[in-house]
């Protein structure tokens, strides 16, 4: 995998000719060797349309292509960085949480609303996060940013996991998500408590949760 964790907030990526990776624009801290950083108007492989879709969904995360030969240090905003290695499965992640990822991974966008029905729409509004979520598929590494540390909570068919939508970072595996208003939680609505809505994840996989209810 091309990412090495230097500390909890910095990763080192090695780029070689013929290999490229994508990173969030402005996240480069330093580099050695001959490396070029090209802004990525197309938003990866998804084409212009996918990018427009993302913009419309408030998922604008300007990416850049990193190519050449050398090593690059990435970090952003002092956020905690978690490297997730994908082995053929799909990672669902909000685009603005992506720090860097392997160029070989297949990028896409998914309309989250379609899964959650009406409540899925609400989710987008409630969390201020887009209805679209970026998907990354294939074999490779993804560096994801979070406010505070990240914990990984496994999801098993026997045990669904409920997550505060604000603290949700990413998930992978064969997982269904559903936004629900918790019964008996209505009391807390109106005080700005995030718990008024919860994201229910069930199936097989894992969800990454950050130590904060703050969006990046």
């Amino acid at each position: 995998m091309p990412f090495r964790e230097v500390n909890s907030k910095v990763i080192e990526a090695t780029v070689a000719p013929g290999q490229r990776l994508f990173s969030q624009r402005g996240a480069m801290l330093a580099y050695k060797g001959e490396v070029s950083f090209t802004p990525n108007m197309q938003g990866g492989q998804g084409g212009v349309m996918s990018m427009i879709g993302r913009r419309a969904a408030g998922e604008a995360a300007p990416l850049m292509t990193v190519e050449g030969s050398g090593t690059v240090l990435f970090g952003h905003g002092g956020h905690h960085i978690e490297v997730i290695n994908l082995t053929g499965d799909t990672l669902y992640v909000e685009a603005d949480r992506l720090l860097a990822f392997d160029g070989t991974l297949e990028q896409g966008t998914m309309f989250m609303g379609s899964q959650g029905g009406v409540m899925g729409m609400v989710r987008g509004q409630v969390t201020g996060q887009g209805l679209f979520t970026t998907t990354l598929k294939g074999h490779g590494a993804v560096a994801v940013m979070a406010h505070g540390g990240i914990i990984e909570v496994p999801i098993t068919p026997q045990r669904a996991v409920h997550v505060d939508p604000q603290a949700y970072v990413a998930h992978h595996g064969d997982v269904r998500n559903k936004l629900s208003t918790a019964l008996g939680w209505r009391d807390m609505v109106g005080r700005g408590s995030g718990e008024a809505f919860q994201l229910e994840l069930s199936g097989n996989g894992a969800v990454f949760v950050q130590a904060s209810e703050e969006k990046l």
Binding site: E5, V6, N7, S8, K9, V10, E12, K32, G33, S69, G70, T71, H80, H147, G148, G149, I151, V153, R159, A160, V161, H162, V163, D164, A167, A182, G184, W185, D187, M188, R191, G192, S193, G194, E195, V207, V209, Q210, A211, S212, E213, E214
Partner: protein
Amino acid sequence: MWRFVNVRTSGSHCGIRPARTGAGGRTAFRGSTGSRARIPRRCDQGVFRVGIIPEDLSPAASDGYLHTVAMFRLQGSKVLAVDMTGDAVKAKNGSMVAYDGQMDFKKMSGGGEGIRGMVTRRLTGEQMTLMEVKGHGTCWFADRASEINLVTLQGDKLFVESSNLLATDSGLRTGTSFTGMRGASQGNGLFTTTIEGHGQAAIMSDGPAVVLRVSSQYPLTVDPGAYIAHQGNLRQSFQSGVTFRTFMGEGGGEAFQIRFEGDGLVYVQPSERNTIAGEV
């Protein structure tokens, strides 16, 4: 010749590997040599523990006090995991980030019960809003990436800034006490949350808290913005840093300080909230 030697990693760059020599454009990190054993180190995940090891908090460790209550453990340093078997914990409203199993959430009124509680809620603007979480399973709590510190109470009283309280187990009672001027200078309200009983509380700090002992030989002076909690039999007094104000003009840094005397512990955070003095 000028030399730059021995940059110590005493602080925070523990994640860096020791020197490997750079050859042909390869990256070389120069870490340091003089690391010391007594300094707590970060573990791999950037996790910093304030000296608490979850195993140490097992029921057996705390003087025969039988835990039928929820188990508090830290997952990393910023997430509190509570394993519950039908019991209840009180937690800051909105601090639940995830749970599995079956949980019920109920809003509680802050400031304690009865008329006193009502008055308190008025005065504090209900800053301390707690919820009660009850059920079977594991519940994870976190708040704005704050560092979480576990405090075990055995019959004594903990005073904590209301905004710094994350969770308490069912063995503890929460109340409110008047803090006088300190609260005023912090803009934190005039009241501090008190926690009493036998059990565990999780308090939050901006950066890991440092716990300082106060005894008769060692009085302690603290910047109000860095204070988060104290326990034990302590007297607090206000001290104004005269020299600061005289020579520093307005907006002086440590213009006000709190002096603690007596016998107890004071928790300070490596950060300063804005105080009334303005820029700190």
